[in-house]
Every structure is written in structure tokens, then in C-alpha cells.
Amino acid sequence: MTDVPNHPHALLALEDGKVFFGRAFGSAKDAAGELCFNTSMTGYQEICTDPSYRGQIVTLTYPLINNYGVTPVDMESVHPWLSGLVVRELCAHPSNWRATQELDEFLANNNIPGIYGLDTRAITQHLRTYGFKRAVLAVAPPDVLPEEARDPFLWSSGRTPGIEAYVNDCIARAQHVTPLSDHDVVGEVSVNTGKYTAHAPWQPWPLPQQTAAQKRVVFIDTGGKHNIAHSLTSRGAEVVWVPYGTRYEEIRDMDPAGVVVCNGPGDPEVDAVAATVATTAKLMQRYPLLGICLGHQIIALAAGARTSRLKFGHRGANHPVQDIESGKVHITTQNHGFQVDAASIPENSGFRVSHISLNDGSVEGLRHHDLPVLSVQYHPEACPGPQDNQYIFDEFTELIS
């Protein structure tokens, strides 16, 4: 498709002075955040609704987005959380039997801006080379961009005359965006409480064997995706969400068969999550535990290990992970900007690295010698991505049964 004439001109300014030009969609407003990229070729709706993207502007590397619209069933949380979405092309005429809405409208209704038409591969290469960047997604106001200056080529190629001051201002704003590590993003997304009930049938997959019937699993909500809960309820478990700050005693009083520390946004070593780490350290001694993504990092911190920031993160649905014990490779969905440092895992913690990334050798899973603790950096619940890793939920189900 070509640019839609009534879509405002917008730009993406990075803190290091790099600027990309496109057109706005979704909510026509400015946004700020850390710019990252995701290489999944499908699953834009699941990505938008993954709370782990809180505080981030997400670039989708696959160029055609909104091909199949948006459907209520594919929500991974109650609404989209990301700060902004960057795509090469926003499909004007989506087609899929389940589509009830277009991405444009969906983001607009949720007050989230998007930008399309820009060279997303160049953005990706920039982030790959220079690491993650803070950025501002800005909608050019009419006084900056008079009608006669709106030639699509001049705009796209950054040659529009007279916009220099505005662009510089956007870059300056990008330099003042609060870094992800400096705010409590988990607190913003930890919104679920009470019993989780499936909002949609488990289509199109057949139900797994019901092995955890009626077992209660407490789900510490650091920004969890629905399909994690789904993967457990479909095995018969009862999932109860608690806020991320819930104290150990409160969880204990709920008498769970197991506890899940789920995914979520941001830096695991921020102060706001410290209490969750402490709680997890106690839970670990008593309950079967499953950690996913941020939850995995929290478990590692609880075990005394450290985490660090990756240059540009792992975000996509094609990441190979090797199970060290079996040697088998699984293709996984990943979404993380931080990692557990293998060397920092205390020898006496009882933890060992169980899974590694075949791309960069980083830690993708931990197991404890004696305790029933499983933790994976990747997303076994997929959505989006390969369904190859549901076995993690089978293993956890066995631990709580």
C-alpha cells in the first residue's frame, strides 16, 4: 500500500541523532520509550499485548503488518502495553475469518501510537550495531510541516526543507527519555488479580492431558501473558493471580500446589522488584516453582546470581535453545533485554544452567539439583511463536501433581 493521505507525518528520533521518517497510525500522539525490534513474522497482536513491552517502542522487522487484522481471542493481556509500534507497511485491507478490527483502530482505541512507511531494516541494523536506544515517536504538527512541504519522497528521505529544528528537538527529547532501568514498569503492568478464567477456547490446539486437575497455582503477576495461565488451566490447574508485591505469607496462606513467576517488563534488578525476589527466595524452599522470562531472572536473583543487559536483546520466534542434558534443540519465542550471567550463579546455590541459546550461548534455563524449580528465559507459552515448548508446562504439571 501507499501512504494514506490523512495519516499525519511522523518521525522516529533516536537519542544518538538517527532519525527515520514515516506516517502515523493508531493514536496520533507522541510517545517515548526504548526502541527495540522483534523478528517474528506473525503475531503482531500478541506482541502488542505482551506486557513485557511496557516502556518500549517495538519495531517489527517483518514488513507487512495487519494482514490478518485483530481478534479478541489473540489477546495476551487485557490491552496493548507497548509505548509505540514501528512497521514498514500497515495493511489497508486485512483478511482473516477471525478479524474483527484493524490494528490501526485497535491501537487508537488503546491510546497507543504507531508509525509506518519507514525503513525498518535500517532501524534494526542500527540497533544491532549500536545497541538499544531511547527514542521518541513524534507526530509532526501542522506548523512544522505546512501542506505544500508534504511530498512523500522528501519526507521519507528526510529531505523536507525547514524541519531541522523540529527534528533536533525530537532528538533532544529522546535523550531525556527515562531509561527502562530507572522506573517501575512492572508496577504498571501488574494488574491481574483473582482466579484466571479462560476468555477463549483453547483453539486451535487439542487440550493437553488433564493431569493437574484442581491443583492451585499462584501466579505472581509481573506482567504475565495469558497463554501462560492458559497453558496451566488447560491442564486442569486453577490459576490465581496475585500482584507482584504480594508477600510470602499471603501466598502461603493460599495453599498453592505451585507458584509461577511470570514474564514482565524492564530490568530485574530495579528496587521495585527486589521484594518479589525476596519472596521468590522463600517460595523456592517450599513450593514447586516455574519461572518464565523475567520470572526466570527473578529466580536467578533469588538464588544469588546477577543479571546484565544484552546489547539489543532477543526478540523473535525463531530462537534456537539447546537443552544441555538431552542435547535437543527447540525453537523458541523470546523477548528479553536482560540475561542471567552464567558465571554469577553461586556454586552453592544448587542451580545449574539447563538451557543455552544457540545464537549467543547465553543462559536460557536453570534447574535446581534438589528443589522442584524450573526456570526458562524463553517463552514456552509461545503466542506468538512455535508451540514446541509446551512440554515445560507438562514438566511443571508433574511437579505440582
Partner: protein
């Protein structure tokens, strides 16, 4: 996997036919490279000499021999390999491996099938075993039942839903079958099908009308690691063979749930079959629910896997070969990034479009409707960041004239129903018909309803139409031009719509700074820095491909495989790239064909995947600082670019435009030969009927007529009367208004052909090839033998002399192909082509002269002498090699099969031995012209040929063959004392000449032509029946004589040895 093998046999796929093209040369070549990397000795056998895989520096030992069980057994006995990889040589290679296993050959010699086990092949190939396996793992396949009555059919339909497809058992080409949408139709069609079936049986199958067709390319290793390399979605929904569908990668209309559901199914399937290597899973997906069906599994690398490899950068065949010898994906590096492993799934950040290349420009009478029988000969692929641009570039890559998506058939103006016919029935013109309908205001909804194509794709096409409208009405601004380029509009399209010359559009673009950038195909959507030199053009901001800086040269490839321009030219392009590399010059390859070795990312220093039109090639050259460009190896495609590129100040490496032009301009060429005192058949170039008639009456009939500047003798004909000439000129001149029609005296003599290399000083002639058929049969459809069998010394000297003088005087630099006819002991020049020809690989292989390398290096300024070669005729080798053409007529309904001046073959094979008879026999067997001992020939011979057929019949009778013949021919046989069964004509009751063929009573047909083109004569039906029954059908007495000679050979009286052994056998 027990032990790692040390010596492995790789079986190729034989000649290029419809359904089995260059992709298997690519696969085999990758496999050989993989073996070399692993330190394993590779033994390669293929009958097709025009392949890179049969190069002696690709495999360790090369056999160019027929692909039959006895031949392979002798190779196995001689080489004692410990393993055989069955899954890289297409269906031919797979069937052969199974036949070798079944015949106990593999057990006898202790040869292990490597990779995918026999059980997996059987489970995938055997209908019933496949159904069982899918049922066991719960994967749905289309419901079907074999029934013997209408009642049974009705009962079955109660269980499933209408519509259903009815396929009668044992009828040819599905006659008598059909689709039933209503209970009434069900009764009618089933009843019809039952009566059409000789065993009164039909298969009733769930009809997946309008379901999406999706494919997954899956890999699995011996450790059970499974990945999907790529998925693809066909624009054409279920019903059109995937090889004939327009295919997009990755899938476009599948949400993540649908994508993953089908991915999981594909992994379940590859696991349940136990495949170790690559596999292709075809699925149908209901557009209105999560319902899907598994349609087919190919337990081997395929055309789709070649496409997936080129679409993603992931080398499936190479990895499959490594898996076959026991490597696992996690231990193999990703050859693109060099940092990550092969155990991952490529992420694309672009869209890929594949469009098949159909032969209907050559076979206008052929049935264009697309269905379950594949009809295309090749395909093009294009990559861009928008679907519209990928599609439009692919359309241009087809090279059907200058046809863009704006083309419309003239008939459509007058007949709107004709447009709908192409849309609803699906023909090769469907996409143009849809554009036409959109331009006439048809809604997307209406098109979706009648074509079942997803609105997603139709909306994209509607968007292209909208841009056409804007270009027609708005003034051309940088913004409009930019947006049009981003949708893949060519400068020529923009020029036409905006009423500006294309050259002016290009000028404006460059002036405004609107030039394409080149993005990398890196398997990982830019997540990792990659080392690959594989690029595509797009209109974006940042360029991944800054110009190479060292000395460099570009090679223009040959585009899609089509009749007249086959894999031979890809062979030449690949060798040109290698020759450049050997001279320290960086090679830049431009090509649009995903099947080939030339588009393998490690063939050249830079690969640009682009259509081969002037604009795209010029853009690439601009991006590379306008390097010297070689147009000599890419067939007519590349040669056609010589003039436009030269006009844009591109320096051609090798023969210049003047040489090309001189050779193709009849008048200039005549004057040129006159000056040299070299004769050619009298004739002239004409532009109107009057001139044609007067020339023909001057030189005398028969005359050979053809338009100049065409491919594979398109529209070439032998004309016997003024009336025929009139009708020919009336239709042919339209073909090309820029160029005249040539009318030449037809000399029915012996045709010989040479390929030569000229460095400006010396002319090296690696060999002379003699055609078995007399002049009049297109050289591409002729059997050719090297060295010539009975060429008098003085004739040979004359040929060498003419060739040398023509090359030097014409200013040839590099390769040239010259065809001569020897008529009444005099040598005439028929044609000079200052470019590589289809026989270059054949001749390179038999003579061991590295023809393309020498030619390329001469273009870089090296002399033949410097390279250790001299001028003149290269010594004849102590072997005989016969090149045989191979046709795909069984796949093309309604096409006349007889050979003539217009080329019809799709591929070729080579038979090589130390005697002519043995070489001929092998060529015959390899090309499928095998007649079982004691079989029956059906003869229908024109009176004029009766004398000539006598010795042929005697020879066949002596070899133990039987005969049936039409009346006149039968009388002749009786008079010779040869037993014959007389058969009546087609419309004179049964049995008749057609029914005996259909009933399988005949094993070969010799039918000499009685003249005239009428498609309704008996001869046409006899020939069609023969090709449909897949029995040899010869229309040339020369070929028949050769066949008789070959069939007289004592069985097994041929050698089986590596190619080099024939040359060394002095």
C-alpha cells in the same frame, strides 16, 4: 546412522522436463559441495550433461550415464560406495533408489541408504501407508472413498459434505471425472465416471474448493531436531498444482495461531515419517475455520525447497546432505551468518513472489487451463519489501516480451467473458485477467467470489490499479514516483501511464535521487551481521550493498527455464563467475531464476536477485559503479540487453554490439559473408508479403521462414507453397515489428554445428557436432553426435576455415556458435550466434576444454596462447558422445508433438561410449526412447518416405521387433516379406491406429509427416496418444534410423565408467 560413510553415491534427476528442472542440479551440486566439506568422496551419476553437478571438479567421480537400475548397479559394483543419498535427485532419483533397494542391489553391495530411510519414503509415497500414518498421528487428510456405484457414493457423501471431486479409476488425464456441488450433480458425475472407468470404479473425494494452499519446508536430523525453514502461501487456492501457482513467501493471510497450527502439523508429520533431511508438506486450510488437511508430503528436496532456499537464504539441500551423513543441525554453522547454527528458523524481512513460466508462448494451441497437472517449464522469483513490488518484478522477470502487469490480451477488449474464463478456470493469464477486470471496475468481492482468491491478494492488485490511475491523472512529483516505485512499477510502466518516455522517467528519478537500494537476504531479518553477498533491490532509505571496490565484472544470467533457453545457459553463467574469480576479478551475478546454481549465494562474489530487464540490470550496474558486463552466457535474454546497455554506456566484456547486430541483420550478414567468399543458403530478409513471395519464387520452394531475433526457433517454419508462405507472413510479421522475416532456401542436407572461442587472434574449435536429423529439425531438438561420423577431411577443413575467418572478421571475443549445412558436398553457413550456445556444456564435458573459462578470460584480455591453447580444431577425443533431446509432451495437452524447425524439447541427455551404437543406445535409453525387446512398432509412413523406411524396418525386424501399420505401409512391409498387422484409420471402427496405442498394444510409433499443419489429422491423434501413453513417437526418419541402430545393439554391450575414463581410453 551407524558409521560415517567415506564414499557416497549421489543420483541426479536426469534431463529437464516439466516438473523436474534446474532445482535438482542446484540440490546435487550443493550435496557434492557438502560432501567435499565433510571430506567424503562423492560419486555422481546423471544423464544430463548441462549440469554443474556433472562437472568433474564438483563431484569426485562423475558418471554421465543413463539413470537405470542396471547402469547404477554397474557403477556401484565398480565404485563400491558405502552409501547412497536418494533424496536429492527429484522423483527420478527417489524412484531409482527405491528400485535399487527393491532389486536387492543395495543389499548385495552393502550400500546404505543415507538420510531418510526407505520406510519413510514408502510411507510418504504410498497412498495407503500415508493415509494410515496420518490417521495414527491424528493429522487430517481429505476424506475419500473408492466406490463402485452411485448408491455407495451417496452414502459416503452423507458422511462428508458436498462438494466432492469424482475421479474415475484407470482413465487417462482424468477423463470422465468432475466436481459435484449438488446431489443431482453427484448422481450424474458418478454415473458418468463409473462408465468411463474400465473397472467401473471412481474415487469420491472431499473437494476443498477455495481452501488456502500452504506449504512448509521442514528439516529433521537424526537427533530428532526439527525446524521449518520457510512457509509459503499460494495466491491460487487449492486446485492448481503448486508448481503452476503463484506463490508468496512467507504466508500472508495466516494469523500466528494458523501459522503455528500448520507448522506443528508439519513437524508432527516429518517426525512420524522418520525423515532425516528435508521434506515438503503441502496443506490446505479452510479460509473460514481452523480446519485443515494434509495434502501431500515430498520426502525429499524439491522445487519448493529450492525456492525456499533462495527465498530465505537457508541452503536446504546442503544441510539435508549433511544430515544424511549423520551431522546434526546444532553442530552445523549457519553458512549465511557464519556465527549462528543451522538449527534455527529463518526470519524474513521482505516478501518473495514466485511466478511459473509457462510454454504457451511457444504452444499457442496448448490447453492453458491450470489444474493438477503441472505445465510450466520454469519459474521466476522476485524479492521486495512490498508484495506489490515483488509481484510486479516477478512478472517482468518472466520475460514474455516486455509484458508488465499492465498487459491485456487484445481479445479481452471485445469479449469480457474471455476475461472471466481465465479468472474462474485459472490459466497462465489469470493474474493479468484479474488486473483487467479490476480496471473495468469489477469489485474485489466479486473477484473473490468467482476466483476464491483471498481478498488480501486481490486488494493488493486493486492497489496496483489505483496507482495506475494516479499515474494516469496526477502530475509526476517525486512523491508520486517514489510511491509508484515502492509498489514495483517499472520506469516503462510509469512512462506509459504518465505519457513520458521511459528514459525520461529514469532521468527524472536519478535527478530527484529516487534510486533503488539493495537489501541483504540474511536469514535473520538483520538481527545478526551476515556474510552473505545476496541482495535484492527495493526503494528504501539505506543501502546494504555499497559498490565492490576491487576489479569486478557483471554476468547477466538467463532468467527462467523455458523451451529454447534451458539450464545450459545457467551452466555457462556459473562458469563465467568462477572464471572471473580464478582471474582475481570479483563476479557480480544478476538473475531471476530460483532453481539454479547461478543464484546460489556462494557462486559469485555478489548475487543480485533481479528481473533481467534493462531497468533492473542498469540499476544493479549503477550500484556497482558500472563494471564491464558479460552478456554472452545468458542466452537470448542477456544478448537482448547488449544494445540497451551499450546505449547507456555500459562496457560489454566480449563481442560488442556491432558483432551481435551484424550476425542478426540478414542484409549486413549476407554482405559480410559475400566479402569473405563464404556461401549461405540464398534468401533475404523481407518486411512484406510481396517481397517474401518474390524472393521465394526466385530461390525456389521449399523455403525456411523465421522472424529475426527470436528464441529457440520460435515461429520458424518450412514452407512449401506460396499460399502457406502468405499465411505465415501474415501471422509472423506481427510477432516483431522491429525486425523483418527471413526467407531462406531450405537445403535438406547434413547439419553440423561448432562452438568456438576467439581471442581476437586465434580461434579454438573444441569440436564439431553432427546432427542426426537433416537440416529442418531445430538444432535443440536434434540428436547430435561428437565427433562427426563421416565428415570428409576437406569438409572439416572448410568448416575450420570458415569458422576461423568468420570469428576474426566479425570481431568475436569469447564464444560463438555457428551452424552449417552440408548440401551436395558444399558447406553453407546457416547461422552465426556470437554467444554461448546450448551445446557448450556438452562439448566442454566431452572434450575437457574449459570453454566458458577460456571465453571469459579472453574477455579479460588473456590470449588463448597464454592459457596454453592454440587456434584450430581441438583433437577429437577417443569417444563418441550423442546428445538426445527430451520432450515433456505428456504434460501438455493439445500440443503437436512432431519435430520441426521450431524447438519443442525441454531438456537433453548425453550418451557416451567408445562406439557410436553404444553411445546412441545410451542416449536413447536416457532420453526415454527405450523399446522393450520383442515390442511392437506402429508404422504410419508418408509415401515419399517409404523407400527410406525399408532398411530401418529390416533392421528392427532383425532385432526381433513386431509391426502394426496403416494400409499403405502394411502393403509395403508385406512386399518385403515382413509380418505385419494392418490397422485401420482412426475413424474406421476399432481397433484403429489410436485405440491400439491407448490399449497398450504398441510400444513405439514411427509416424512420418504428411505435410500441412491441420491439427485434426490422424497423425496428430496418433502422436498425442503415443505421448500420453508415454511410448516413443518418432516423426523423423533419421531419428528412427538411429533408434533402429541403437536397438540392434546387443544388450549390455556398452561400457559404464567415469566420464574421464572415456577420454583417457586410447
Amino acid at each position: 546412522m551407524t558409521d560415517r560413510p567415506s564414499k557416497v553415491l549421489i543420483v541426479g534427476s536426469g534431463p529437464i522436463i516439466i516438473g523436474q528442472a534446474a532445482e535438482f542440479d542446484y540440490a546435487g551440486t550443493q550435496a557434492c559441495k557438502a560432501m567435499r566439506e565433510e571430506g567424503i568422496t562423492s560419486i555422481l551419476v546423471n544423464s544430463n550433461p548441462a549440469t554443474i553437478m556433472t562437472d568433474e571438479d564438483i563431484a569426485d567421480v562423475v558418471y554421465i550415464e543413463p539413470l537405470t537400475v542396471p547402469v547404477i548397479e554397474r557403477i556401484i559394483a565398480r565404485e563400491q560406495p558405502d552409501g547412497l543419498i536418494p533424496t536429492l535427485g527429484g522423483q527420478t532419483g527417489l524412484n531409482l533408489a527405491v528400485a535399487l533397494a527393491d532389486a536387492g542391489v543395495l543389499d548385495k553391495y552393502g550400500v546404505q541408504l543415507l538420510g531418510t530411510p526407505l520406510s519413510a519414503i514408502q510411507k510418504a509415497e504410498d497412498r495407503e501407508l500415508f493415509r494410515q500414518t496420518m490417521t495414527e498421528i491424528g493429522e487430517p487428510i481429505p476424506a475419500s472413498r473408492t466406490v463402485n456405484s452411485v448408491q455407495e457414493a451417496e452414502k459416503f457423501v452423507e458422511e462428508i459434505r458436498l462438494p466432492v471431486v469424482i475421479r474415475p479409476a484407470y482413465t487417462l488425464g482424468g477423463t470422465g471425472g468432475g466436481i459435484a456441488h449438488t446431489p443431482d450433480e453427484l448422481r450424474t458425475v458418478v454415473a458418468g465416471g463409473l462408465s468411463a472407468s474400465p473397472i467401473t470404479q471412481v474415487l469420491v473425494e472431499e473437494y476443498l474448493l477455495g481452501w488456502k494452499e500452504v506449504e512448509y519446508e521442514v528439516m529433521r536430523d537424526s537427533a530428532d531436531n526439527c525446524i521449518t525453514v520457510c512457509n509459503m502461501e499460494n495466491i491460487d487456492p487449492m486446485g492448481v498444482h503448486t508448481g503452476d501457482s503463484i506463490v508468496i513467501a512467507p504466508s500472508q493471510t495466516l494469523s500466528d495461531r494458523e501459522y503455528q497450527m500448520l507448522r506443528t502439523a508439519s513437524l508432527n508429520i516429518i517426525r512420524s515419517l522418520g525423515i532425516e533431511g528435508g521434506c515438503n508438506v503441502q496443506l490446505a486450510l479452510d479460509p473460514h475455520s481452523f480446519a485443515y488437511r494434509v495434502i501431500e508430503v515430498n520426502p525429499r528436496v524439491s522445487r519448493s525447497s529450492a525456492l525456499a532456499s533462495k527465498a530465505t537464504g537457508y541452503p536446504i539441500a546442503r544441510m539435508a546432505a549433511k544430515i544424511a551423513i549423520g551431522r546434526t543441525l546444532d553442530k552445523l554453522p549457519n553458512p549465511i551468518t557464519q556465527r549462528t547454527t543451522a538449527a534455527f528458523e529463518p526470519a524474513l524481512d521482505y516478501v518473495v513472489a514466485k511466478i511459473p513460466r509457462w510454454p504457451f508462448d511457444k504452444f499457442p494451441s496448448g490447453d492453458r487451463v491450470l489444474g493438477t497437472q503441472m505445465k510450466s517449464t520454469g519459474e521466476v522469483m522476485a524479492i521486495d519489501r512490498t508484495l506489490e513490488a515483488a509481484l510486479q518484478k516477478a512478472v517482468r522477470g518472466l520475460e514474455i516480451g516486455d509484458r508488465s502487469l499492465m498487459w491485456e490480451d487484445e481479445q479481452w477488449q471485445r469479449d469480457p467473458e474471455a476475461v472471466w474464463q481465465h479468472i474462474t478456470e485459472a490459466s497462465d493469464l489469470r493474474i493479468w485477467a484479474i488486473m483487467c477486470a479490476l480496471r473495468r471496475g469489477t469489485s474485489v468481492a466479486e473477484l473473490a467470489r468467482r476466483s476464491h482468491i483471498d481478498t488480501f491478494f486481490l486488494e493488493k492488485l486493486a492497489g496496483i490499479r489505483d496507482m495506475e490511475q494516479r499515474l494516469l491523472t496526477e502530475s509526476l512529483t517525486p512523491g508520486l514516483l517514489w510511491e509508484a516505485k515502492r509498489l514495483g512499477f517499472a520506469d516503462s510502466q510509469i512512462g506509459t501511464l504518465a505519457d513520458v518516455l521511459p528514459a525520461r522517467v529514469r532521468e527524472m528519478r536519478k535527478q530527484w535521487g529516487i534510486v533503488p537500494v539493495y537489501k541483504m537476504v540474511d536469514t535473520c531479518a538483520a538481527e545478526f551481521e551476515a556474510q552473505t553477498p545476496y541482495f535484492y533491490s527495493t526503494y528504501e532509505i539505506e543501502n546494504d550493498a555499497p559498490s565492490l571496490t576491487a576489479e569486478r565484472a557483471a554476468v547477466v544470467g538467463s532468467g527462467p527455464i523455458r523451451i529454447g533457453q534451458g539450464i545450459e545457459f545457467d551452466y555457462c553463467s556459473v562458469h563465467a563467475a568462477w572464471a572471473l574469480a580464478s582471474a582475481g576479478v570479483q563476479s557480480i551475478m544478476v538473475n531471476s531464476n530460483p532453481e539454479t546454481v547461478s543464484t546460489d549465494f556462494d557462486t559469485s562474489d555478489r548475487l543480485y536477485f533481479e528481473p533481467l530487464d534493462t531497468e533492473s540490470v542498469l540499476n544493479v550496474l549503477d550500484n556497482e559503479g558500472v563494471p564491464p558486463t558479460i552478456v554472452q552466457f545468458g542466452g537470448q535474454t542477456a544478448i537482448n540487453l547488449a544494445e540497451p546497455l551499450t546505449l547507456e554506456n555500459v562496457a560489454l566484456a566480449g563481442s560488442g554490439v556491432s558483432a551481435i547486430d551484424l550476425a542478426e541483420d540478414r542484409r549486413k550478414f549476407e554482405a559480410f559473408l559475400d566479402r569473405l567468399g563464404i556461401p549461405q543458403p540464398p534468401g533475404a530478409a523481407v518486411t512484406n508479403v510481396e517481397d517474401a513471395l518474390s524472393i521465394a519464387s526466385n530461390i525456389g520452394y521449399p523455403v525456411l521462414v523465421r522472424p529475426s531475433y527470436v528464441l529457440g526457433g520460435r515461429a520458424m517454419e518450412i514452407v512449401n507453397t506460396p499460399e502457406d508462405l502468405k499465411s505465415y507472413v501474415a501471422t509472423a510479421v506481427q510477432l516483431s515489428t522491429r525486425h523483418p522475416v527471413l526467407v531462406d532456401k531450405y537445403l535438406q542436407g547434413k547439419e553440423v554445428e561448432v562452438d568456438a572461442i576467439c581471442d581476437g587472434k586465434d580461434v579454438l574449435i573444441p569440436g564439431i557436432m553432427e546432427h542426426i536429423e537433416r537440416a529442418g529439425v531445430h538444432s535443440g531438438d536434434s540428436f547430435a553426435v561428437y565427433p562427426p561420423r563421416d565428415l570428409h577431411g576437406h569438409i572439416e577443413q572448410t568448416i575450420v576455415d570458415y569458422t576461423t575467418r568468420i570469428c576474426l572478421e566479425l570481431g568475436v571475443l569469447g564464444l560463438v556458435n555457428i551452424q552449417y549445412v552440408i548440401f551436395q558436398d558444399e558447406v553453407f553457413v546457416l547461422e552465426v550466434n556470437p554467444r554461448s550456445s546450448r551445446t557448450v556444456p556438452f562439448l566442454s564435458k566431452v572434450t575437457e576444454v574449459p570453454m566458458v573459462r577460456l571465453a571469459t578470460l579472453t574477455m579479460l584480455g588473456k590470449s588463448l596462447a597464454e592459457m596454453g591453447f592454440a587456434g584450430g580444431l581441438w583433437p577429437n577425443q577417443p569417444l563418441v558422445a550423442v546428445k538426445a533431446p527430451v520432450f515433456s509432451m505428456a504434460k501438455l495437452r493439445g500440443v503437436e508433438t512432431s519435430v520441426g524447425p521450431e524447438m519443442k524439447s525441454t531438456g537433453e541427455v548425453m550418451g557416451v561410449d567408445v562406439t557410436f551404437e553404444a553411445a546412441l543406445y545410451k542416449a536413447m535409453v536416457a532420453s526415454g526412447l527405450n523399446v522393450p525387446a520383442g515390442g511392437t512398432f506402429l508404422l504410419s509412413i508418408a509415401d515419399a518416405d517409404k523407400d527410406a523406411i525399408r532398411p530401418i524396418v529390416r533392421q528392427l525386424a532383425a532385432a526381433g521387433y513386431n509391426f502394426m501399420a496403416t494400409e499403405g505401409t502394411a502393403t509395403m512391409l508385406e512386399s518385403m516379406g515382413i509380418p505385419v498387422r494392418m490397422i485401420s484409420k482412426r475413424l474406421q471402427g476399432t481397433p484403429n491406429v489410436v485405440s491400439v496405442i491407448r490399449d497398450g498394444e504398441v510400444q513405439a510409433v514411427i509416424n512420418s509427416l504428411t505435410g500441412g499443419r491441420a491439427v485434426l489429422q490422424d497423425g496428430f491423434y496418433i502422436r498425442r496418444a503415443a505421448v500420453e501413453m508415454q511410448i516413443p513417437c518418432l516423426t523423423s526418419l533419421d531419428t528412427s534410423r538411429a533408434l533402429a541402430t541403437a536397438l540392434s545393439l546387443q544388450q549390455d554391450a556398452y561400457l559404464v565408467q567415469p566420464l574421464c575414463a572415456y577420454r583417457d581410453d586410447r
